[in-house]
């Protein structure tokens, strides 16, 4: 017999463990920075495993910190600080939150901000405005900025591009050696890569429980649980956490515990998480017997260029693997590749309808969704809606407008069912 959990974001054992991990990683960051560690700020897609090759290089991820801030309800507060400094409200809300936090000395941040960096490392394939965002600190604080130049992929990555990226990794390593006075040890990095590979494997196990009817997970679980992937990449703790998360989910499924036990509508979400709405949105969906069971934002982790399954590491050159992983997110790829992965998720997970969340703050994710929506609907015969939101600025979100559309989607699914 199925047991009902409270709908919405569940504070499971894994949830509690994840909170502890996050708290600990942010506190360690501050502590080690005080103890003279070399601090880098990175874009989420910059391979953190490289820093594990050094004895005392630590990294912070402003995007992740901004998401956390939005989730904790201080997104618009921090954004407003940046707007007061002249940064337009039309700019990415992650950037505004981060700039607002950084120039206000970490005040109002759930993590007391981030320790000031010695080096900024952005990249331009996941999101090219990150280069501009990091340039703000580069200019204001006169801190070196290394731009990882990664060609965008309309088709799978070319060998020439791979070599180009690897050459930049090598130069980045040399730069950190020079700036930090520390020696890089490739074996330490190799260990980090192995932990990432294992973490990704366990992550895929976890999101695989969406296949079950009712689904063993919600996309909201995946949004929350992706956080340590950004802050603890390459660590054994991360791999172990995801193993326990997948085990715990398996146990729940076996015991008949599901996030939306009376699930009637299985949905997919396309875009960054609505950080300021996780609990509210998931609860309201559950009341409608709807579950967003898959999200392009989180199923892409560890997969490449339109594939749904993880990219396999052959155990050879770890830099090569990391260069390939530059495409593991959604945004470094064009519509054809993105659609391929989405089709696969829809088929595997028996999705009934799609929500394309058009995100004012993330043009790279959103500007192609209108065609992608058409393509997915036509090819797979499932209804889809587009909603308007902002991933971290709740001032640009309307719950009423969003649910009007989502309810229309559910009615559409229902009507199609009745028509057979």
């Amino acid at each position: 017999m199925q047991q009902q959990e409270n709908p919405g974001v569940r504070k499971s054992d894994s949830g509690k463990r994840m909170s502890r991990m996050l708290t600990s990683s942010y506190m360690n960051l501050h502590q080690k920075a005080k103890e003279d560690a070399f601090v880098v700020w990175i874009a989420i897609i910059v391979p953190a495993e490289i820093f594990l090759g050094f004895e005392n290089v630590i990294y912070a991820v402003p995007e992740s910190h901004a998401a956390l801030s939005a989730g904790k309800g201080v997104g618009s507060l921090q954004s407003a600080k940046a707007e007061g400094m002249g940064y337009s409200m039309d700019l990415c809300s992650y950037a505004r939150i981060d700039i607002g936090t950084a120039f206000d000395g970490g005040k109002d941040s759930p993590t007391f901000g981030l320790p000031r960096p010695h080096l900024l490392i952005s990249n331009n394939n996941n999101c090219s405005l990150l280069v501009k965002w990091f340039d703000v600190y580069h200019r204001e604080w006169e801190i070196p900025h290394f731009i990882m130049d990664v060609p965008f992929c309309y088709k799978p990555q070319k060998e020439k591009d791979l070599g180009y990226i690897m050459a930049q990794f090598r130069d980045l390593i040399k730069l950190i050696e020079k700036m930090s006075g520390q020696k890089f040890d490739i074996d330490r990095m190799r260990d980090g890569v192995a932990h990432t590979v294992e973490a990704v494997k366990q992550w895929k196990r976890f999101i695989g429980f969406a296949v079950h009817r009712p689904s063993g997970i919600t996309a909201f679980d995946t949004f929350v649980q992706m956080a340590p992937f950004l802050t603890s990449r390459g660590t054994p703790e991360l791999a172990e956490h995801y193993r326990l998360l997948a085990d715990e989910t398996a146990e729940k499924v076996t015991s008949g515990i599901f996030p939306v036990p009376n699930e009637k509508y299985r949905l997919i979400w396309d875009n960054i998480a609505p950080w300021h709405q996780l609990r509210k949105m998931s609860q309201r969906l559950a009341e409608l017997k709807a579950n967003i069971i898959s999200a392009s934002y989180t199923y892409c982790m560890g997969s490449l260029e339109g594939n749904f399954d993880p990219y396999e590491y052959d155990g050879a050159d770890p830099l090569r693997y990391l260069a390939r992983l530059q495409n593991f997110s959604v945004c470094p790829m064009g519509m054809e590749l993105r659609s391929r992965a989405m089709r696969e998720s829809i088929r595997r997970n028996a999705i009934d309808g799609a929500i394309f969340a058009s995100n004012r703050s993330c043009k790279v994710y959103s500007v192609l969704q209108m065609d992608q929506q058409k393509r997915i609907s036509e090819e797979l015969g499932i209804p889809a809606v587009m909603i308007d939101f902002d991933h971290a600025d709740d001032r640009k979100y309307s719950e009423a407008g969003t649910f009007l559309r989502i309810e229309a989607l559910l009615e559409n699914i229902e009507r199609r069912r009745m028509e057979g």
Partner: protein, 375 residues
């Protein structure tokens, strides 16, 4: 619609002469290369005030996309697609990089097949990994694809000749810019002349510039050159709409210089002439006048702007903000602060897709700015 028709007519005229036409975006494509291979490049930028609406574009792009991309899409999906023999783009902002596939979708719905070419321009700071070989390979790859698609061929001699022509065009643009700076030609007219050059063959553009320079030189517009405190530099992705250029000048300003992407940033620098296209474009992109759209040039931008202001003896700076252009807006607070510290007055005007018909508010702000500058 007259201007659109004029663009269409211009492209038709090129095609009537038997030439192939490739539409390019964003602003700094390898024009010389296309020209040298008998493909006439037209730059699809600054057509934002010439289309009646964006109904086709609205089927593909959200309303928070900048007007540059929306109008560009509108043009390609209405008239441009049938006219152009190819489309070329290189990596730019997060919006534009998605356009190739969107345009393919839109054109596909109309059963129009336009070959699309793209290259990646290295975007990293000086002192990082040497990207010369990468860019050289990209150019070689482009040459091969053009040869294959159009049955044309590359020659060093032809490339050098084309590069010579473009250098002349840039030199003349600078000369006309200097005339605009001294008030001999209105900034609105000047912008229009430069923009018209984007859709004609370069030799026609050269002749047009020569003619305008000659006319300006013999007719100094009969107006008094204003005092120094009324000299401003305008900056942005695009020049302000013609009506706003008029307001700026009627408010007593002279546009002493511009840091406009489709104007000064485009013609300020020119590489050494060489027959090696790869080498030419390494120089072209590495030493390009700083532009927000070229990530690798950001470090040099503040200094370049200050040099321009000093050189033109300007006392004010007007940001022409293109709404939703993140590349521009990220840099505005820093540049604004720097200029204020240097005693330069600044004004930010923001233009969105509907603002060309609604300029009253801009007039008030510009007039107030004039009062501030008059002290």
């Amino acid at each position: 619609m007259n201007h659109v028709n004029s663009i269409i007519n211009k492209i038709n005229r090129i095609k009537d002469s038997g030439e192939k036409v490739i539409g390019c975006f964003p602003l700094y494509p390898p024009l010389e290369l296309f020209h040298s291979m008998d493909i006439i490049p037209v730059v699809l930028w600054g057509i934002d005030d010439v289309l009646a609406g964006v109904s086709e574009s609205d089927k593909h792009l959200q309303n928070y996309v900048c007007s540059v991309a929306r109008y560009l899409t509108e043009f390609v999906l209405t008239d441009g697609g049938r006219l152009l023999d190819g489309l070329f783009m290189y990596n730019a902002c997060d919006t534009l990089r998605n356009l190739p596939e969107i345009l393919e979708c839109g054109l596909g719905e109309k059963d129009i097949n336009v070959p699309l070419f793209n290259i990646h321009i290295p975007a990293m700071y000086t002192g990082q990994t040497d990207s010369s070989k990468y860019l050289q390979d990209e150019i070689t790859g482009l040459v091969n694809k053009l040869e294959q698609e159009y049955g044309v061929s590359y020659s060093e001699k032809r490339f050098r000749e084309s590069a010579d022509l473009y250098r002349e065009m840039r030199r003349l643009s600078l000369e006309l810019d200097a005339l605009a700076s001294s008030g001999m030609i209105g900034f609105g007219d000047f912008s229009r002349i430069i923009h018209e050059g984007y859709v004609v063959p370069v030799d026609v553009q050269v002749e047009s510039l020569k003619s305008w320079i000659k006319n300006c030189g013999s007719s100094p517009a009969g107006k008094k050159i204003p005092e120094d405190e009324h000299r401003v530099v305008v900056s942005g992705i695009l020049p302000p709409p013609p009506s706003v250029c008029d307001i700026i000048e009627k408010s007593g300003f002279t546009v002493a210089g511009n840091d406009i992407a489709s104007l000064y940033r485009s013609y300020r620098n020119h590489p050494e002439i060489t027959g090696d296209a790869g080498k030419f474009y390494i120089d072209f992109y590495q030493n390009h006048f700083p532009c927000t759209t070229l990530l690798s040039t950001s470090d040099r931008r503040a200094k370049a702007i200050m040099n321009l202001i000093r050189e033109r003896n300007a006392r004010g700076f007007i940001f022409i903000g293109e709404k939703f252009c993140e590349y521009e807006y990220f840099e505005i607070p820093f540049i604004d602060k720097m200029l204020r510290n240097e005693g330069i007055n600044t004004l930010l005007l923001e233009f969105s897709i509907d603002d060309n018909e609604n300029i009253g508010g801009f007039g008030t702000r510009i007039e107030s700015f004039a009062e501030v500058m008059s002290g």
